[in-house]
């Protein structure tokens, strides 16, 4: 039978994490992410790892902090309300320069909201998952194969840049199945973790993992140093995919599940003779600013399609320096648009 296996997105992330050497997983159930934890609970004991259900999302993220501080590849996952609870912990992880992978299988909000797919945590993920000057790398897979690949990538990025990396998915990507190929992929060269707190064995000076700096100037220096790393990430780690943008007059910008629907819409538009194209950011932070800016020179208008009330649209405007108009089309609260709705919007912009 096929080398590929049919898997839920949640499961593919879990499997890819295990293959990437994730040794510890700390979770807390929440729909539509729960199968990820369940896969881990089933697999980890047989594959040299440990999966533990924490008493809360807060405990989970702090277990991640501890495990990471002591050197392990570690992951946690949740969905929107649970991610909000992790905010303080994530800010500490950033402030302590610790690597880890965090999965957000987004659902409708605010509040308890609903449990259907959404992309309304974009602002939170890209701007402010916690207090203070901080970012995390945010990856947005659009299919199950990518759920797997980007998860592996996430662990490497985390270790290289000593930063948390978020897989920003949604209920549809978490719950749907597609074929996945887990064939080995080249692994990056990783820095040695000399900063780890796992007992100095009297062989090295003690290590401290800490985010407190009583002297403001020291804290400022830390922040500047970290933002220099962000700059490097922006220079070297931006990922995106494009479809029919070469001659496009209207470019739809969409990521994740929405990008797939938009792609169908672009096909429908092309069939009507509208020169539409698709730009799909794969890294949401760093955002593909340069590429979009260049694209803006030849494109007439952009359409940001999101499962929210309008969030990524700001980043597009900033990226293209308002050179061209950017419109928003969104469904929110867990509603997924059909391609025809996006087509309608494309048509309207094509006049």
């Amino acid at each position: 039978m096929s080398r590929k296996v049919l898997m839920k997105g949640n499961e593919a992330v879990a499997e890819a994490a295990i293959r990437a050497g994730c040794k510890l997983f700390f979770g807390y159930p929440i729909t539509p992410q729960t199968d990820l934890s369940e896969y881990m609970a089933k697999q980890m004991p047989n594959r040299g790892g440990l999966s533990l259900q924490a008493e809360s999302e807060i405990a989970a993220i702090n277990m991640v902090l501890g495990a990471s501080a002591s050197g392990a590849r570690v992951m946690t996952s949740s969905s929107s309300p649970g991610i909000s609870l992790k905010g303080e912990g994530i800010s500490y992880i950033v402030g302590s320069d610790l690597p880890c992978v965090i999965v957000n299988v987004q659902r409708g909000g605010p509040g308890l909201g609903g449990i259907q797919p959404a992309q309304s945590d974009y602002f939170q993920a890209t701007k402010a998952l916690g207090h203070g000057d901080m970012h995390l790398i945010v990856l947005a897979p659009a299919n199950i194969q990518e759920m797997a690949i980007l998860t592996g990538e996430a662990f490497d990025l985390a270790d290289i840049y000593r930063t948390p990396v978020m897989i920003l998915a949604d209920g549809a990507l978490g719950q749907m199945m597609e074929p996945v190929d887990f064939a080995a992929k080249p692994v990056r060269v990783l820095p040695e973790k000399t900063w780890v707190c796992n007992g100095h064995q009297n062989k090295r000076p003690m290590n401290i993992v800490n985010s407190l700096y009583i002297q403001p100037e020291e804290l400022e220096q830390k922040n500047i140093e970290r933002f220099e790393r962000y700059k490097k990430i922006e220079e070297t780690e931006v990922k995106y995919e494009e479809y029919l943008t070469d001659d496009a007059e209207i470019v739809v910008v969409a990521y994740g599940i929405t990008a797939r629907i938009a792609r169908t819409a672009v096909n429908l538009a092309r069939a009507e003779g509208i020169k539409a194209g698709l730009h799909r950011p794969i890294t949401l932070y760093p955002f593909p600013k340069k590429r979009l800016n260049k694209l803006a020179d030849k494109v007439d208008i952009f359409l940001s399609v999101e499962l929210n009330m309008g969030q990524m649209i700001d980043d597009i405007k900033l990226a293209i320096e308002c050179k061209k108009p950017v419109k928003h089309f969104g469904r929110t609260g867990g509603v997924m648009p059909v391609p025809e709705e996006i087509l309608d919007n494309i048509r309207r912009l094509a006049k």
């Binding site: 039978m1 096929s2 539509p32 449990i115 719950q175 749907m176 597609e178 074929p179």
Partner: protein, 177 residues
């Protein structure tokens, strides 16, 4: 014919049937996707799943206008009957759904799958019987491939189950109203 919708009560094997179809697509090296409906009301509420088997990359995994609709209960019949595309196909478990479609632009197959299942000691396999009927109706997939995938999908530890499944598939395939 690439968009399939399987709908019924939770516990009727809806998700399994959908997965079977997706696996068949996978073996044919097609693009496939499978998306369950999920909610806090899995408890006896309706369950459905969207399956797409296609040559093109799949956009939305959500099937809102099925080419083929398999229906195992009345609420689903009423909810989805009108969504089937023109010239589409509908397979109905007539032992659970007494209604007939009013639409004349689709082809409907009525098979008393649940009854057939209980009559033939195939408890819980109405979904596979329905699947067999669908196979016949859509004429897209090689029977023996489907059978092989089906066998492969049943736990190795329960070989009798594979046989029962094969029987159910064939029963459905060969049933004529």
């Amino acid at each position: 014919m690439s968009n399939f919708l399987f709908a019924g009560f939770g516990g009727q094997g809806i998700l399994f049937s959908g997965k079977l179809l997706a696996k068949v697509g996978l073996e044919l090296d097609k693009q496939v996707s499978w998306l369950p409906s999920y909610g806090p009301e899995m408890r006896g509420g309706t369950a459905n799943c969207s399956v797409i088997v296609n040559d093109e990359p799949i956009g939305s995994p959500l099937v809102t206008k099925p080419d083929v609709l398999l229906v195992l209960n009345l609420p689903s019949f009423e909810k989805f009957e009108h969504t089937v595309i023109k010239n589409g196909i509908m397979i109905v478990d007539s032992s659970l759904v007494e209604k007939k479609t009013v639409r004349t632009d689709i082809k409907a197959y009525y098979i008393p799958a649940s009854m057939l299942a209980s009559d033939n000691d195939l408890a819980g396999l109405a979904n596979i019987i329905m699947f067999g009927q669908m196979l016949k109706a859509i004429k897209l997939f090689d029977y023996s491939l489907v059978e092989a995938v089906l066998v492969h999908s049943t736990p190795k530890s329960k070989p009798q189950l594979a046989e029962l499944n094969k029987k159910a598939l064939s029963l459905g395939y060969n049933y004529q109203a």
